[in-house]
């Protein structure tokens, strides 16, 4: 988590200092105007990120309620705590360097300060908005829908929202005293959040835990998978009924669209032919990577049960493997729209899928066997920020999964042409299949030899 935070701070600072010159030199546009135009998206994305990542203080309030502290103070404390959150501080690392550059470039100090004050106000509006929006999926999907529609309309030149929001953001600079409007608005939102919070500060109201209505499901159609179906049924329930796993599913859908960056030619750096394979691997393998790297951590909450039952490791692993294979195939089918950018684009997805199923599925499960981070299924908040999700070891493991097929493709591409390149990657994937049982044996051994360490590590959070 610390690593991730430092990384964010670093990139925001660099962006803050550099964005002015990047826009001026590369886009040949007026930097301050461009920033004001995209600010609306900046703010909306900020809200989305908060929704996913910012932890609400509600959870830690309960113990305070039994202590002799006034309710008003509890609420102020809880909301106040969100105000000093990383999600607010982070923006300073972008806007302060950016403003320094502006002032150096001769923008009037007072006006730049007013503009900053306005931004600060907007960010706190987002902060308080997130408090009463939190855990309301309807609002969240409305926002996501809004973004997609707006970007789409802008892309096709039908309607450009930034034309309307640009003057608003610019006015805080042009007419400095207007900057108090967002600040006052933030104050109003604070008041609303405060009232909302205080009214719900009861164990059976805002602090109650929502209970899902559960249906017992048999999934008898899975029985055809024999004794493996025991685990398969469980894994499907795991995916469908927990917040954390639903976030993973959502992420894997996003991965399908990741390839647009490559095949539409919108990112110049990705124009080399071997990048196709890179894209193909990610498009088809989103679920495979995001789910697979945490096997067996998905079962961390009840790992002692699993370890004291007579489970057949092979079937346990095979069940997760089948899930990954099925998801990869589904992603590949959905990605058929890449044909629009030529048969090469879709061929890259298909051979990427073959390589994913044949080679990467094994590597991912093997790597996951060493990752001992307990997963809290009931919250989605840690899905990205988890220190293990992006640690050095995981990154190191990702390199052979991605680089190797790219190299294989490049070898084929630059000798006999692209068809040969695709064929080589596909052959590499099919060869991987032959090692399936061997790899499962190794993973089983790892599970057994790491058993006590894994149990102890999972216990830390339980």
């Amino acid at each position: 988590m610390i690593f991730g935070a430092l990384w964010m701070i670093a990139s925001f600072s660099i962006l803050g200092f550099g964005v002015y010159f990047m826009i001026e030199d590369v886009l040949k546009m007026e930097p301050f105007q461009v920033v004001n135009q995209v600010l609306i998206y900046y703010m909306v994305f900020d809200l989305v990120f908060r929704y996913f990542l910012q932890k609400m203080p509600v959870m830690n309030i309960k113990p305070l309620m039994y202590l002799p502290i006034k309710r008003k103070e509890i609420v102020n404390f809880a909301i106040g705590k969100t105000m000093i959150s990383f999600f607010n501080v982070l923006h300073a690392f972008f806007f302060i360097p950016f403003s320094i550059v502006l002032i150096m470039k001769g923008f009037p100090v007072l006006q730049v300060l007013a503009w900053n004050l306005a931004i600060l106000g907007w960010i706190y509006c987002n902060n308080f908005l997130n408090i009463f929006v939190n855990n309301k999926d309807v609002v969240f999907f409305a926002v996501i829908g809004f973004i997609v529609v707006m970007i789409g309309l802008q892309y096709y030149g039908i309607f450009d929202i930034t034309q309307f929001t640009y003057p608003i953001f610019n006015s805080f600079y042009a007419v400095p005293y207007l900057a108090f409007i967002p600040v006052v608005l933030a104050g109003v939102f604070y008041k609303i959040a405060f009232t909302y919070f205080k009214k719900n500060l009861y164990l059976d109201a805002g602090l109650s835990v929502k209970h899902d209505i559960a249906e017992t499901q048999d999934y008898t159609w899975l029985n055809r998978f024999g004794s493996m179906s025991t685990f398969l049924k469980n894994d499907i329930k795991l995916l469908r009924r927990n917040k954390r796993s639903k976030t993973t599913l959502l992420m894997s859908v996003l991965f399908i669209f990741y390839g647009l960056l490559f095949f539409t030619g919108s990112v110049e750096a990705y124009d080399g032919p071997f990048w196709r394979i890179f894209a193909g691997i990610f498009i088809s393998g989103g679920f495979l990577f995001t789910f697979g790297q945490f096997v067996p951590s998905w079962d961390s909450a009840y790992y002692p049960l699993m370890m004291s039952q007579n489970i057949r490791y092979k079937e346990y692993i095979a069940s997760k493997w089948y899930l990954m294979v099925i998801a990869t195939i589904i992603s590949t089918i959905i990605s058929v729209f890449y044909l629009y950018w030529g048969w090469q684009a879709y061929a890259a997805v298909v051979v990427g899928a073959i390589y994913n199923i044949g080679v990467n599925s094994h590597l991912v499960l093997w790597g996951g066997a060493y990752i001992k981070t307990p997963i809290d299924l009931t919250t989605s908040k840690k899905a990205f920020g988890d220190k293990q999700a992006f640690n050095a070891k995981t990154l190191l493991l990702t390199i052979p999964k991605l680089l190797l097929p790219m190299v294989i493709y490049a070898v084929g591409h630059f000798t006999l042409g692209e068809v040969f390149g695709f064929a080589l990657v596909a052959i590499a994937g099919l060869t991987g299949f032959l090692f399936k049982n061997k790899v499962f044996d190794i993973i089983e051994k790892v599970y057994k030899s790491e058993k006590y360490k894994t149990l102890a590590a999972y216990k830390q959070n339980n």
Binding site: V209, H211, D212, I213, A214, E215, T216, Q217, D218, S227, T230, K233, N234, K237, L238, R241, N242, A301, Y302, Y303, P304, L305, M307, S308, Q309, N310, I311, L377, T378, Y452, L455, A456, K459, N462
Partner: protein
């Protein structure tokens, strides 16, 4: 049935369990008592091979538990919530355990039928996931799940805690019945001296990881235990 030899477990902070010899014959109802930190859960975890012994070993039916997994088919346990799968309904959980233990749906249903009064209408068909059940109801599910698949050894850590009085009385019946009539070796730990003396043929008192009393239960046992824990 269960033989303990020179078993010890130490962490960096020092030893937490040290049992030189302990034999638990088949069909015995075995009670384990001791204050917090006495080593009860450590002992059960060693028995289930969830932690490694520092020295010595435990044999269950002549199978050394940390070397072979062949004890698993005839052993079952409920230690704490980590033995429950939160996102399943109680029914799904029972069937899952059943499948792991080679029981089909009808077998499990037949077993559940016997414990309808134990569930007291609060477990089955409640449209709730296990994670949303109260602590007491979760415990009921865990205990009954431990009976699935005709185990020969059943380990229950603090089964009486969190249960309401009616359920406690019913649970005592179940435990007595398992050991007395079905020949199951039942290991129970408890802080409730009265309950544990009532259900156990034999009571072992642990203190700082050592066995300091090993009593065959009689009319005088409860008094003796109370005197011991009162510090007399």
């Amino acid at each position: 049935m269960i033989t303990v030899s020179n078993l010890s477990k130490s962490y960096n902070a020092g030893p937490v369990l040290n049992i030189e010899n302990l034999d638990i014959p088949k069909g015995q109802s075995f009670g384990l008592v001791g204050n917090n930190g006495a080593g009860k859960t450590t002992f059960f975890s060693l028995l289930l091979d969830l932690i490694q012994p520092t020295t010595g070993f435990i044999k269950s039916k002549d199978i050394q538990v940390n070397e072979s997994e062949d004890w698993k088919p005839f052993t079952s346990a409920y230690i704490d919530e980590t033995f429950l799968i939160g996102y399943l309904t109680p029914e799904e959980y029972f069937y899952f355990i059943g499948e792991l233990r080679g029981q089909n749906k009808a077998d499990v249903d037949a077993l559940l039928k016997q414990f309808e009064d134990f569930f007291h209408g609060e477990i089955l068909n409640q449209k709730k996931y296990l994670r949303d059940l109260s602590k007491g109801n979760q415990k009921k599910v865990g205990i009954i799940a431990a009976l699935i698949g005709n185990p020969e050894v059943i380990i229950l850590d603090e089964p009486f805690a969190n249960l309401d009085p009616t359920t406690q009385i019913r649970l005592k019946q179940i435990i007595k019945n398992l050991a007395g009539q079905q020949g199951v070796t039942v290991l129970v730990s408890s802080h409730d001296l009265m309950h544990v003396t009532e259900v156990s043929d034999r009571i072992v008192v642990l203190e700082k990881g050592e066995v300091i009393k090993d009593l065959a239960t009689s009319a005088a046992t409860l008094k003796e235990l109370e005197a011991h824990f009162a510090g007399e």
